[in-house]
Structure formats: C-alpha cells, structure tokens
C-alpha cells in the first residue's frame, strides 16, 4: 500500500555510485554545483556525507532570486509605491530585501504592499497581460527574473504584449544568463572550482553549445546534471572521472531530459526577444554578457522607458549592509554556516540576505535541513 519516500532501486544505485566515487578519487577536488535546486537536493539527502574526504562541493549562485541586484528591487519598490502601478512578480521575489532601509517599512516588496502599494504574485508571466487588460486605467509592471529557464515565458509575454497593443504593460527585465557567471567564477582571484555540475534545466532549454565554449576557454570539466540524488551522483562520478584523467569536456549526465540542441522552440523565442547584455549580479558586480536585455524592437516595453523615476543610468549592484555575507556565499567563497547571522539574526522569517529568502537559496537549504555548523 505505502512506499518509502525513495525507491529502493534508487537507493541501491546511489550507494553504488558513492562507492565508485570513493574508489576513483585519488586526490582532493573541488567542484561546484551551479544550481540552487541541486544544492537543496544535496543538503536534503545529505549526499555530501557520502563523498570521499578530499572531494569538496561548493554551492553555486544558481538562484535567480538571489542574484537579482538590490538596486533592481529598489526600482521595483519605487514603482510599486506609485498609485497607478500594479507591480507583479514571482512569490520569492516579493520577500527579498533591497538596499533601502530606514523608516519602519521592511525593505522588500511585501513591505510596500503593507504600506498600501499594489503588489501581486504571479505564477505565469502571461497573467501580467491579463492584468493589464483587466485594468486599462492602471500601469502593470512585471518584474521579470530568472535564468534561461523562465526567460522564454517572459519572451512570450513580450511578443503577446506587443501584438495586443496594450499601452499599460511594461517590464523590469532582470533575466540573467548562467554560463557567463560560471566564467566569472573561474576567472575570479582565488578561484577554487575545478569542475562544474551544470544546471540541468538551463541546458534543457539552451542545450550544451554555450558550455562547450566555456570548456574550450577555461579547460574545466562541465557535467550537465539533474536534481534527484541519482542524477547528482552520476554527475559527480562523471566529473571526478574527467578530473582524474586530466580531461576537460562537456558531458551530459542528465540525458533523460537534456538534448545537445536544447529546446529549439524555446531558444528561438528567447533569442527573438532578448540579447545578451552586461548586467550586475548580486554578490558579483557586473558580469559581461551576464544578463538578457530586450532587443531594440521591444524596448518600448521597458519600465525604464515609461517611468522617469527609473532614469539615471543602470542600477549598481548594492550589497546588503551589516553582517550578512551573502555576496561571498553566492560566489562560493563561504558557506552559510560561516555567516555570523546564520540561523540567529537571519532566518527564513527575518531574512537579511536573498539566499535565506529564496526556496533555492543556499542559506535557506542549510536552514531548512538543520545544518548548523
């Protein structure tokens, strides 16, 4: 009638891969799992406890909510305070603190809502178009965040928004691209990362071509990995195998989902609307090619073009002040438990930094699964 939370066959396979990993690892290696979903699975299932002693995992920045600059959230807050604006975004985004403090209002979008702003949660970008149609007398602004995974859905909104001719829909476009951030990590001073578990769902859309370029330039193994314990163990084994042999290439350990060419329809949609632009990432500063900006024919939909409040140059990535070390955590230079505020001053109920807010943040993963040091 009832079954255990994990299938027996999967348990046996994971244990076998853990034994294999111990057997093939002869030297210390440091790998980064790029995606926050992977971090959650690793901490949830305690997979790091199964690794050979010298094999170290660093948690990557792969959480779009976490890397959205404080200045972007500040801009969204500024707009949300305007009486004619309906500001909408995804759930986690509403709780991320911006840089502005002062006053009694919490520094997130929900704080603006509590003070009377019209801030709404969406589960699909197309809901923003429906809102704009329903409220022709208001200005609907969609704070569009996410990696290459959610950008195609935003692209669809942009195309339908343009086609429909609605005059009261605009975007704060904050989409980001993962491969440039991986390059930024590799070229940062003091980098320790020797191999990547790449984010499987990004590759499901984009394919593996961009990763080939990364490998050509930086000579590190990159293994496309999924999010289940077995997917992650397969990725780790494939990555360590390359390192031990002195190889560096793109491997796909998530073949049940990822094709080399990705999802051509989604890619075409994304590329028709967006182009690579330099963009600040929280914790990193400006990453060359690290963002997706609207192509020229669609720029009339940018909120910056509609609202004078936002004009005055691109947003700087202002870091949170105080004890929060989320910048170092996002770059993989520190672990959540290294932060003096972790699980004390900073909790999911009262987050100081974005990685504690987002369901994909590393601090949230450590907190949720009881890691305390």
């Amino acid at each position: 009638m009832s079954a255990p939370a994990v299938l027996t066959a999967e348990v046996a396979a994971v244990r076998e891969l853990a034994r294999e990993l111990v057997a093939i690892t002869t030297r210390p290696w440091t790998l980064m799992e790029v995606c926050g979903g992977q971090t959650h699975a690793i901490v949830r299932w305690g997979l790091d406890q199964l690794l050979p002693p010298g094999l170290k995992l660093i948690h990557g920045p792969g959480c779009p909510v976490c890397v959205t600059p404080a200045a972007t959230i500040d801009a969204a807050r500024t707009l949300a305070r305007r009486p004619e604006v309906i500001l909408c975004s995804y759930g986690d985004m509403l709780r991320v603190p911006g840089s502005a403090t002062g006053g009694d209002e919490p520094g997130d979008l929900l704080g603006v809502r509590a003070a009377g702003g019209d801030v709404r949660l969406l589960t699909s970008p197309l809901e923003a178009l429906a809102l704009a149609r329903r409220h022709p007398d208001r200005q609907v602004v969609f704070l569009a965040v996410g990696f290459e995974t959610t950008a195609p859905a935003t692209a669809l909104l942009v195309r339908q928004g343009m086609a429909s001719g609605v005059a009261n829909l605009s975007l704060l476009a904050a989409h980001v691209r993962v491969p440039p951030a991986m390059a930024a990590i590799l070229t940062a001073e003091g980098n320790q990362v020797q191999g990547f578990l790449a984010a499987g769902h990004v590759c499901a859309v984009m394919g593996t071509t961009e990763l080939e370029h990364l490998v050509d330039r930086h000579r590190v193994p990159v293994v496309v990995s999924g999010f289940e314990p077995l997917d992650l163990m397969r990725g780790l084994v494939a990555c360590v195998r390359q390192l031990e042999r002195g190889e560096a290439r793109v491997a796909n350990a998530y073949g049940r989902v990822v094709r080399q060419q990705g999802n051509p329809a989604a890619r075409a949609l994304l590329e028709s609307v967006f182009e690579a632009v330099d963009r600040p990432w929280r914790g990193f500063g400006v990453i060359p090619g690290g963002g997706l900006g609207l192509r020229a024919p669609f720029r009339s939909l940018e909120a910056e073009a509609r609202f004078a409040d936002l004009q005055g140059g691109p947003a700087e990535a202002v870091e949170p002040v105080g004890v929060c070390i989320s910048g170092s955590i996002l770059q993989g230079r520190a672990r959540p438990v290294d932060c003096p505020a972790f699980a004390g001053a900073c909790t999911p109920e009262h987050p100081l930094g974005a990685p504690m807010v987002s369901s994909e943040g590393a601090c949230a993963a450590y907190h949720r699964y009881g890691r305390r040091g």
């Binding site: 009832s2 255990p4 994990v6 901490v43 949830r44 305690g46 997979l47 790091d48 909790t347």
Partner: protein
C-alpha cells in the same frame, strides 16, 4: 429551462442567529438532528451522567478552508479532531459540545451537508453531542463556518500518557501512511485535479488506541499528527526530555500520490497534516505487540529514542546512510488546514 436564481438559494441570514423565529427554524429544521436526545437543544446546559473514574477534557477550534474536501469536511474534522485528542490521552471519547459560528450568506445546503457529516462522525467516534451554540456573523467577517468542539472522555490508563514518560530505548511507531489530509486540502484549495482523487485520512483513533491497550502495550506517549505533521510532533516530544529521536527515513510510509504531489509542490510529507494518524512511543519490549496491532492498518516502526542534547533533537537517517537534523517547519506554513 431557466438557470436557478442564485438569490433564491436559501442562505444563512443574520437573523438566523438573532434568537427569533428564524433561529428557531434553523434549530428545528437543521440542528436538532445533531443531538441524540433532541430535547437537549432546549436547555442552557447539558446534564451528564458519566461513569466513575478519571476524565480527560479537551477543546479545539476548526477554521479549515475550503469547508469541504476529498474525504471529509469541517464537520467530520471537528468531531474527529477533538475525539482524537481525547484518545491521545488514553481516554475513550464520550460527549462533545459544538459551537457553530456561521457567516451570513452560507448556503443552507452546505450547512445541511456539514450537519450530516457531524452526525455521521459522532456515530463513528462513539460520541454524543450534548450541548451547543450557534452564532451568525456578518458577511465578510467569517469564512463560511468556524466550528469549536470540546469533549470529555473517560481515561482508560493508570499511568499518564505523557511526553515526560518517554525514555531512551523507547520505540517509535506511526499508525499509517503520512500526508493524505494535507494533500487533500492542498488539492481542494488549489484546484489540483489529482487522478484518482486522494481522500483525507480523517478517521477516529480511539479504536486503535483501545486495541493497543487491550493487547497489553504500555503506551509511554501518543501524539496525533495534525497541524505540522510528523515533524512537529517529533520536535515537541524531543525537547522536554532532552531526547534524540532517531528516524529511519526509509521506513516512513508515504503513498505514491502523496510523494508525487509533494515532489511537484516542494512540500515534505513529514510536514503535512494528518487527521487520522498518530505516533505511538512504546517500550522496546512492547514494540512487536504494538506492531501486530497497528500493521494491518498500515502502521509501521519508524525509529527509536536515545539520550540527546539539552534541547533535544530529531535526527533523520536518509536511505543513503547520511543524516540530517529535522527542524520545525518555518516560513512556509500552510495556513488553516485543520
């Protein structure tokens, strides 16, 4: 044929709580059937003739949304929940009071279904509703219906069933698979079309407790796994005695539809509410006897008790052999599920 006029649908009005004719019609037409002795409804207080012995007394309020879901409704919850709280103290549930706070505009047909459900649940739990009260609040000031029940039960154990009775070496068992009620509520609330539908596990717990006692099992502690699920129950038991509760994740019973729904929505079955499941803490010597009683209904052993740190902790051993500390659910509570 013409559409039925929604304004013609009989609904609760403020005057149904006003003490006048409409209220009398509500009581006579809808509520009198709740009482085993219909004349009880006329009195300000119930007169009880209870067996001699020690009594248990418990109260709980029910604010579930939506009011009806697969496998139950607020009525079955209100009776079963309080009866189960009594059972968790080792008491046979005997009598209940019932407070109804109805919102103006509640459809009479829905109230009728809730009343039928209350009657049916009382029969299944072996309790009698002996006194009650009804109020109506203005539209917008309630959520259809809020219910409160208080119950009295007759204690059937000599040693108190109490978290403080738990000692290192005790064994942990659950009475059935986890998370069905939580998923049924989630599905109803978010319009998830689960195929086949997954029904709430809402059911009386006293029969299982009575069977454990009849089998001679010494019950150190019982805890129903309602709001906060198994995770919260374990937390609450670990702390007061500085215990470490060691759970084998592989042994936790979760049916496939619950597992899949949780995986999809990012919930952990350990945190989902149940309305017909409990945790039993028994001495090691009684483990097999307890299992023999619980296993036929899906009960299973899930772990053991050891001495722990000063604030206690719950340690989960994953199927892969790794360990993690289970912390109380935070920041993502599912509101109003029971």
């Amino acid at each position: 044929m013409a559409e039925p006029d929604p304004l013609a649908t009989p609904r609760i009005q403020l005057a149904h709580g006003g003490g006048g004719t409409l209220m009398q019609q509500l009581i006579d037409g809808e509520l009198r059937r709740l009482y085993a002795d219909p004349d009880q409804v006329l009195h300000d207080a119930a007169r009880l003739s209870l067996p001699h012995g020690h009594l248990a007394f418990s109260t709980d309020s029910y604010v579930v949304h939506p009011l009806e879901f697969e496998g139950g409704d607020i009525g079955s919850l209100a009776v079963t929940g309080t009866a189960n709280d009594l059972a968790m103290a080792g008491a046979r549930p005997l009598v209940l009071s019932l407070g109804l706070i109805l919102e103006e505009g509640l459809e009479m047909a829905l109230l009728r279904r809730i009343v039928a459900s209350l009657v049916d649940a009382a029969r299944r739990c072996g309790v009698t509703i002996v006194t009650g009260d009804t109020k109506v609040v203005e539209r917008g000031k309630g959520d259809g219906a809020f219910l409160n029940t208080s119950g009295i039960g007759l204690l059937q154990v000599d040693d108190p069933i109490d978290p403080l009775a738990i000692v290192p070496g005790d064994q942990l068992l659950v009475s059935g698979d986890l998370g069905r009620h939580g998923v049924a509520i989630l599905a109803a609330r978010h319009g998830l079309d689960l195929q086949p539908p997954l029904a709430s596990d809402c059911m009386p717990l006293w029969p299982a407790v009575e069977a454990l006692l009849a089998a001679g099992v010494r019950l150190h502690c019982l805890r129903d796994l309602t709001r906060g699920g198994l995770a919260s129950a374990l937390q609450e038991l670990a702390a007061p005695n500085a215990l470490e509760l060691q759970i084998e994740e592989e042994r936790l019973p979760v049916v496939e539809p619950v597992r899949r729904t949780c995986a999809l929505l990012g919930f952990d079955p350990l945190h989902l509410a149940n309305e017909g499941r409990f945790l039993a803490v028994v001495p090691e010597a009684d483990r097999e006897r307890a299992l023999a009683v619980l296993a036929p209904a899906g009960g299973t052993w899930i772990g053991r008790v050891a001495a722990g740190p000063p604030l206690g902790r719950v340690l989960l051993r994953t199927p892969f052999g790794s360990e993690r500390v289970l912390i109380p659910l935070s920041g993502e509570l599912l509101p109003r599920i029971c």
